[in-house]
């Protein structure tokens, strides 16, 4: 895994969550491999929510967990602030085992270290925006003056200035979720847990809020676990993405890794429809200059457009439309590879360019 364990703010080790009567039996049955999901449900009366999830999130990283509904992602995120107790496994936050904390310590952790945003907003209808935002401070006994000041700043940060005294039902869905976001960041926590925060919003508002969130997170550098069922959202927001299916983390990697090297058919199917334009880099689709020259003879690269290995396909397309030449990829002043037009087109499709001409494919 990319992050070093010692810098991990959140570390989940072998989390299992089994709902129902015989959780331990169910776990050992799955471990030994004999039983399917249906067997577990019918014979042991158990439902497996999370199955052996291990991951860690580095400081300042945005870690997206992507999965369809029922995949266990909301259950998994609730282990981090122990809204749900794991059947097996442990969660460490900055090295401290959350599952061994006493009630008081746990409450302090929740109020001061972790902010959470919910899919259904979960604002308190009897409190106005300001009192909703300041809730975490209020339960810690922060004096009113201070609370107002903090709430004002948080409300400002989510661009809701002037709405402090309104009640949730006077706000649109998008605005309500801005309040949810303000409430999560108000206590200046280290960690943000986002449980499908933008799923209930219509696409345009979702875009806006994603924008607000990304600006905020660039500014505040919160360690974030972000749950979504929308892969595009995960790719836009996440530094790393975990794909979850039936309670299992199927693959963990950067957006580019997920899109270009899907671990199995399930992930591949997901990734199929995703635009590669802003994701795949030149480094992934280029061929060595030598190969090119082997096939086409020595080339005069002087007139060729030039790009860096880290440039995305989008940039390469822009360069390519103005010329008939291939694109020369240059790193540290030395040419390292060539991207031909066909390689570029195949890259957009998400396929490798076949070295020898093949029969036409639709």
């Amino acid at each position: 895994m990319a992050s070093q364990p010692q810098d991990a703010v959140i570390r989940c080790e072998g989390i299992w969550k089994v709902f129902g009567g015989n959780p331990q039996e169910a776990i050992s049955a799955i471990r030994s491999g004999g039983l399917t999901k249906e067997d577990i449900r019918d014979r042991l009366d158990c439902v497996v929510g999370v199955r052996d999830a291990t991951f860690s999130v580095a400081r300042g990283e945005i870690f997206c967990i992507m999965g369809l509904s029922g995949s266990g992602k909301s259950t998994l995120i609730r282990h981090i602030n122990r809204l749900i107790e794991p059947t097996q496994g442990a969660v460490y936050i900055e090295g401290r085992n959350v599952n061994e904390m006493g009630a008081r310590e746990l409450r302090a952790l929740r109020a001061e270290k972790i902010g959470m945003v919910f899919q259904n907003m979960a604002l308190m209808p009897h409190r106005n925006v300001r009192d909703n935002v300041a809730f975490a401070l209020e339960v810690r006994g922060v004096p009113e003056e201070k609370r107002r000041e903090v709430a004002r700043r948080a409300v400002e940060a989510v661009e809701l200035t002037g709405w402090d005294h309104k009640y949730p039902d006077e706000l649109s869905g998008g605005m309500q979720q801005r309040v949810g976001l303000a409430r999560a960041i108000a206590a200046d926590p280290t960690i943000l847990l986002m449980d499908e925060p933008f799923s209930a919003l219509d696409p345009l508002i979702r875009r806006q809020l994603q924008g607000t969130f990304m600006e905020l997170s660039a500014e505040l550098h919160k360690t974030t676990v972000f749950i979504t069922h929308d892969l595009e959202e995960a790719i836009r927001i996440g530094d790393r993405i975990a794909i979850m299916k039936d309670g299992v983390l199927v693959q963990i990697g950067t957006p580019e890794q997920i899109v270009t090297e899907p671990a199995d058919d399930y992930v591949a199917e997901f990734v199929g429809g995703i635009s590669k334009l802003d994701l795949v880099t030149a480094a992934r689709i280029m061929q060595p200059l030598a190969w090119y020259e082997q096939a086409h003879g020595a080339a005069d690269t002087a007139a060729w457009p030039v790009a860096a290995p880290s440039d995305k396909l989008n940039t390469l397309v822009d360069l390519s439309v103005g010329t008939d030449h291939p694109i020369l990829i240059v790193a540290d002043g030395a040419p390292v590879g060539v991207v031909t037009k066909s390689a570029l087109l195949r890259g957009i499709q998400g396929r490798e360019d076949a070295p020898q001409p093949k029969a036409e494919v639709a």
């Binding site: 409450r107 919910f118 308190m124 975490a136």
Partner: protein, 311 residues
């Protein structure tokens, strides 16, 4: 077992003596009078104080006061209705107003005690399934058992008078408050409670800052029902020498005096409408009130506004 035991009619020949056993409570109560008396004296004092306060206020002042309360709690239209009902109540009979105040004192005492007992029970029932299951048959019993059944033991224990009347009223009027408090707590949006947990609230903070405020409209609906049931008990309570409108009805029945019965009955109805509309007004949610605080509306809001403008 009895020789004449008949398999087809087994119950006729079996006597477990439940009636005698229950009658033993009476004996116990009579033996422990000295224990009960001080408690009785205390409550009697409270009821008398409430009543003498209500009686001391001149009817016109009380009428204006109740109208203002109705305006504050439920708005101008309800205030007009309350005013009309009170005027009708006063015009029914020269003595009607004073009798109504006596009845009101009993109802207020009973309702206060219902709240003190019922609210914690309701919260507990809302939180614990087992407690809810345990208390439900008790509440069913309280609501359905004929009042005359517990009238006698209560009188044996405590004697006739206001305190017994209040106790009898509580038995009948308490259940809806417990039930609706429990329902209110149970129907609080679980997501909001989860959010409160996620932000580090203690169970106590969750109860007072989230659950109770959100359950308030339901709890107030329960309170409204409790008040209505208390009023419906006044005639029965008057059988154990509780004064007031109920007593008028009871006496009229004894003398077959239909006119007097109607006066007493209508008086109870008027009082019921007044109390019902005021408490229903309290139960409106924040959204229905346009998210204004209570001190921003009604007569108080008017006065506050005046001061605001002067300042």
């Amino acid at each position: 077992m009895d020789k004449s035991f008949n398999w087809l009619d087994p119950f006729a020949s079996v006597d477990l003596g439940i009636g005698e056993w229950a009658d033993g409570i009476k004996g116990w109560a009579m033996a422990n009078r000295s224990l009960i008396q001080p408690v009785k004296t205390f409550f009697e004092g409270v009821i008398v104080r409430i009543e003498s306060t209500l009686q001391a206020v001149p009817p016109l002042v009380m009428l204006i006061l109740l109208t203002l309360i109705a305006w504050q709690a439920a708005g101008r239209r309800v205030a007009v209705l309350v005013f009309c009902c009170l005027v009708v109540l006063g015009l029914l009979d020269p003595a009607a107003w004073s009798l109504a105040m006596t009845t009101l004192a009993i109802v207020i005492s009973a309702v206060i005690l219902c709240v003190i007992i019922g609210l914690p029970l309701g919260i507990l029932a809302g939180k614990s399934d087992r407690f809810e299951q345990a208390i439900r048959p008790v509440l069913d019993t309280m609501q359905t058992i004929p009042a005359f059944v517990y009238l006698v033991p209560v009188v044996m224990m405590i004697g006739i008078g206001n305190v017994s009347g209040v106790i009898v009223t509580i038995v009948f009027a308490l259940p809806p408050l417990v039930r609706l408090t429990s329902l209110g707590i149970r129907t609080v949006n679980a997501n909001v409670v989860e959010a409160a947990r996620a932000f580090g609230a203690t169970p106590r903070q969750i109860l007072f800052k989230v659950e109770l405020p959100l359950a308030t409209p339901t709890i107030l609906a329960g309170l409204n029902q409790t008040i209505m049931l208390s009023l419906s008990m006044v005639v029965i309570a008057s059988m154990i020498s509780v004064k007031g409108l109920g007593n008028e009805v009871l006496r009229a029945m004894g003398r077959l005096d239909a006119g007097k019965a109607i006066v007493g009955g209508l008086g109870i109805v008027m009082l019921a409408i007044v109390l019902d509309r005021i408490t229903q007004g309290l139960g409106r949610s924040g959204r229905e009130r346009g998210h204004r605080h209570w001190w921003q509306t009604g007569p108080v809001g008017l006065v506050a506004n005046l001061f605001h403008k002067q300042a």
